[in-house]
Symmetry: C3
Subunit: 308 residues, 3 copies
């Protein structure tokens, strides 16, 4: 009896705290997209992109059409639903629509759904193009890593390939101004691989990330074709002011031109920093200014204190 | 026939090896807490702390009381059980109780259960206070990151928030001397985020960790309010002696005062190292001595060898 | 109606793209091993190695024989199946067998199965020996980390122990020339811990990795006994040529002798680099040449620019 009363009181206090700190709950707000749903859909998309690699069942010439058809039918409404929720969330919270005017609200929710349907369809239609560019990324990993035994090994076991696959899907949605969804996707890749690519970054073809743990590629980074990056590389912003607000929507992250290689642990900062075509940035180097095309930048071997 | 005999022999040898290397099995020992159970309970706690963010079902004004009540009823006995197992483990293995005296054993097991119940109840009662301080952490991430679009995005997609949420729950249990459990929780966060915060660390309010992969915050670290930390920062111990035993229970990790910012890859070591209020520690800087309040410490840009 | 036609067209285009970019699909190819199956089997192996640590059910003197027997019976055919798929994959894609000669093909597939059975059996038989060496690794973590409270905590919550356990299993298969499988295993550990140990590396006993996020140990690394490594350490290759192909099968990664300690963030590169017995490598140090036995190598504290 007493135990039950205790629990009741605890529950009451939690509910009260929901009322007080509105900022971290969505009880009155719009229905948020679901991380679990998004992750499941993302995994299905990757399964379709690399058929036969991540399924337990055998996919062959005879059943492939049924399998792709079934997968696409299954995930299409789920993608649409998650995009719709993301758009509605933004519309109700930040949009021009006023929830007090019923008419406006309904109109905008309609508009959200129409847009969600369009984007979901476009994403599925984009899959062949995504396959083409991801195949180039697989080839770049094979050319770039002496430890790679086959293209298949790269698809099955390279974290860089997973992170880049997720990035290319998330970036597609980012370009179409879908809120929340692309960032939830990129965080999934970050969790799985330790590679943190903001979906807003713009990245060319034949991209390779080896090992990858600790890589950070910021929102306004621009990367050309045939670029190679190793673990622990940061493409980041210079010092952030006390209040980051004044700094939003500015190009804060560097530009990396074609055929640049950046070795492990290097840090390249600043929105005006440009690494010229074909440059090589050595491991652990710290760079806040532009580097000429073709330059090779290494830290002077630091004086070592050796006691024997 | 032969195949079965082979398997029998293999099993026998494994069992024998259990007898020989007792240190890595718990067949005769007390019943350990279950990592899976702990992770599931932890995820439920975070779901209650951020209602509507991590559930597939819609939570609204009408059902919220039922939902919270049901969740709390469901996880309370599981938390109690895991705390009880952790306490009993310690009691039987390391405590003063002598398992050869039945009376003592029973008494202590009783005492464990009573204490487990108390702590489990206290944890649920702490949830509103945890929500308050975590809301401040969410705000700190928004103020600190120009790429953040909304508070919701931070809850849904920032690894720093997950790591800090888990840390605050684990630290609550750590302060009440629950063994094993807090470390299993912090390792869950480490796995998910690459952020390794020891539950013994003491951390103030408005804490921000951006990107976070590779962050290590040691057991005896003390961190003030409004501190900002970036990926790859280590708050660690100076050289560890050959046998770490003599070094246990000593303050080995630094003290970071209010409003300090520590940029990516910086390493701050030693139990006597104090970073003064408002100081800024630059990226990749290596510090083993105290820094005055308000100081800005940057590595002299290292000489770069540039070949063009 | 229109909607259905749209989907049909999308599916057709995806199928077409499967035909065009054969390199990233396995529709006509051999049946690849399944990552999910491999991960589940790996987790079972670790459960048998550390009985009572990762199961929800209680394992005691009375049921342990049944439990181990049941587990071994359950996973044996699954391991065999995955090894067989890996061998067949290699045999069909890269082997000497010519798929156009039916006889040859069948013979080789037979040979694959026989070899798979042999290796699967050997792996189960190796478990007692693996337990012995992993017990030494657990002890090394306890001796090496002042924050460790017990051996049990290390098994339950140290990412280094998980990464090393997976490495020792994967290396066993690597030595027997099983393709793909060992790398899928090591990537599982990488995902869970941020520690990337290539299964080809050779590592002695009493090995400790603390915290571990960002550690990279390359394919041709050789590590002695009683070595300690901290987060962010890279044992890697010097610059990789434009086309990595010419660089395969060469010793590209360093040799670390007995009782060496390598602190966080240090980078040691090159196949001819040898770190002598008992040497200590300081944090963040960058090394591309051999170090004498017993030497202590620290970066000269870099000049710091301090503004107050």
């Amino acid at each position: 009896m007493k135990k039950r009363q205790n629990l009741e009181k605890t529950v009451d206090r939690i509910i009260e705290s929901y009322d007080r700190h509105g900022g971290i709950n969505h009880i009155r707000g719009p229905n948020l997209p679901s991380r679990e749903e998004i992750v499941e859909t993302l995994e299905s998309l990757i399964t379709i992109i690399f058929p036969g690699f991540f399924t337990r069942e055998v996919i062959d010439r005879d059943n492939v059409r049924f399998w792709v058809g079934a997968e696409c039918s299954r995930i299409y409404p789920r993608i649409e639903d998650q995009i719709n929720k993301s758009l509605r969330y933004f519309c109700l919270q930040w949009g021009d629509c006023r929830p007090d005017t019923d008419a406006c609200l309904i109109e905008d929710l309609e508009a959200c759904l129409v847009r969600a349907r369009k984007i979901a369809r476009a994403l599925l239609r984009e899959l062949p193009a995504l396959r083409r560019v991801l195949f180039q990324d697989v080839q770049a990993h094979f050319t770039g890593d002496p430890a790679a035994k086959s293209l298949d090994e790269i698809i099955l076991a390279y974290p860089g390939m997973l992170a880049i696959s997720v990035y290319r899907i998330a970036h597609f949605l980012w370009r179409r101004q879908v809120p929340l969804l692309p960032r939830i996707m990129s965080e999934y890749a970050h969790t799985r691989t330790g590679i943190d690519i903001h979906p807003g970054a713009r990245i060319g073809n034949h991209f390779m990330i080896d090992h990858g743990t600790g890589v950070v590629i910021g929102e306004t980074t621009v990367i050309g074709d045939h670029v190679r990056i190793y673990q622990g590389v940061t493409l980041g912003a210079l010092a952030v002011p006390e209040d980051a607000g004044e700094y939003r929507d500015v190009k804060r992250h560097p530009t990396i031109r074609d055929r640049v290689t950046i070795y492990s642990g290097a840090t390249i900062l600043g929105g005006k920093t440009v690494i010229g075509k074909g440059a090589v940035i050595g491991g652990n180097v710290w760079i806040t200014r532009s580097v000429a095309p073709g330059a090779k930048v290494f830290g002077e071997p630091p004086a070592l204190a050796i006691r024997t």
